[in-house]
Subunit: 296 residues, 2 copies
């Protein structure tokens, strides 16, 4: 039995980060120093880890970052006040409000308050709308943009491909189909979006040339759900309890990697697949925001 | 052989128009008089007809309308100037820029200049984004909103249904899937969007419980492409030359109605299906815009 080609997300992300670093130097010669503001509310452990990783990547690539940590009890008005300040600050080119936000903060309202021109996470409705309309002027959410780059740089043919996306979240599933259904290079796919209410999800998976799992169920995609030779991308990050592991849990993707790799043509590992790409795309979006701000 | 139930778009639209008229009277008692501004550029014959139909419906329902006709040579700056005026005018609650716009006017730029709060056509990126994000606070484009209402009022079960949409235009196909894929009442469908690059479009059609054709090809959907009992909605408006007809052409839908009605469970005629619903939804959006403006 053959085994799938592994799509090395770390290596591809490093390639993109190298390109971003070169671009930072290039705009630096024009006197532009890209700046990214992180806003973290409360003490969610995973959020601390994620923001820490992004801060370190900023430092590596020459992007100036500042992290604003607010207490969990922060009011909506206070948070909106900080965002208004950052929106107005000419040295801040990108603003990232780390999810999840502690209740009762309404993430939709908060994300919509980030200026579209600084919305490097692509969650403001203006950018969501531009993506859906096929307008390349907006920012694309980092995780689906990262999946797209993985496919492009792994020479996966998307035009006419049957793409099945599992999961209809605002952060991955919905923008993922919005990217791939466009009449555009590296798109033009026939997309199907499956979710908890889908009747024959295994049947849909089995007809996919490209299967993108972002459904949030550990090892949901089993080998018998994959068409031989298909490209399988695992976006999932699921905690499963493991008494032997540090912290009592370990992280597992949405794909049964060891089983599916024997059937798929190409597959992303997890970790080491989509994760590094998300950060790489955030960095790229930030540098683009800085260059756009300088032109406007 | 049985024949499909005909979904009577005219009757359903009349029902909605009756509801809208009642709502106009209701907000009228609060001193709100809904106002809709039409903007028509150039002398496109179909645009004249469409705007005329919408003006007459406004008059019937008690919505005040004003039509601004600009010459085909209108510059972008002039058109944007008019839109800025209408955006600022407190008696104008809805603004509709009739498509198509004569080149070199850029429709995306023009639609984006209509204030989101007055964008009763739902084409501003903010409203497109809200629809995709599942935020009910925006305006939904009239044609897909009308198809949705047709399905709801014809008691078509959408949760878990296999929906196949033909055509990925910004006006119908894309917003149609955005409506039906949401985790929401009368949605929750598994959606597939097919287009010119789709490999086996007939195969996709044949597995659809609900087939929505907006692909712009006369009689594209043939009986052998429809699953027995499926719901078929015909959004197409195609000109086919007909020397015997007035004007030398007649309008034909995307569905071979006479053939498909023998296979489908429910089917929209064309004309008399989606068309009247588009206008009904425009009226409803306008009255909603007026009520929202009064509350804000």
């Amino acid at each position: 039995m053959t085994s799938a080609e592994i799509i090395d997300g770390r290596a591809i992300a490093e390639q993109i980060n190298g390109e971003t670093m070169a671009r930072v130097r290039e705009i630096g010669r024009q006197g532009i120093e890209p700046g990214l503001a992180f806003v973290r509310v409360g003490e969610d452990a995973a959020s601390k880890v994620y923001v820490g990783m992004k801060e370190r990547m900023c430092a590596r690539l020459g992007i100036k970052s500042a992290t604003h940590v607010l207490p969990a009890a922060t009011s909506e008005a206070e948070l909106l006040g900080l965002l208004a300040q950052l929106n107005a600050d000419s040295r801040t080119h990108g603003i990232l409000v780390q999810a999840p936000l502690p209740p009762p903060l309404d993430p939709a309202k908060i994300f919509a308050a980030v200026s579209p021109a600084k919305d490097v996470d692509g969650f403001n409705p203006v950018n969501v709308g531009k993506l859906m309309l096929g307008d390349p002027g907006g920012f694309v959410p980092c995780t689906p943009a990262g999946v797209h780059e993985l496919l492009i740089r792994s020479r996966v043919e998307m035009a006419g491909a049957e793409v099945v996306v599992l999961g209809r979240g605002n952060i991955v599933g919905k923008p993922m189909i919005a990217i791939l259904l466009q009449k555009a290079p590296h798109a033009n796919a026939t997309v199907t979006l499956c979710h908890s209410q889908t009747r024959d999800i295994a049947g849909h998976c089995r007809r996919a040339d490209i299967l993108i799992a972002a459904i949030g169920v550990a090892k949901f995609v089993r080998p018998d759900m994959v068409k031989p030779g298909a490209v399988v991308v695992d976006v999932g990050v699921n905690r499963v309890s493991d008494p032997a592991a540090k912290g009592g849990y370990r992280l597992v993707g949405d794909v049964d990697f060891e089983g599916v790799r024997k059937v798929a043509g190409k597959i992303t590992p997890n970790p080491g697949g989509v994760g590094p790409m998300t950060i790489a795309m955030l960095m790229r979006n930030t540098v683009r925001a800085a260059a756009m701000a300088a032109r406007s």
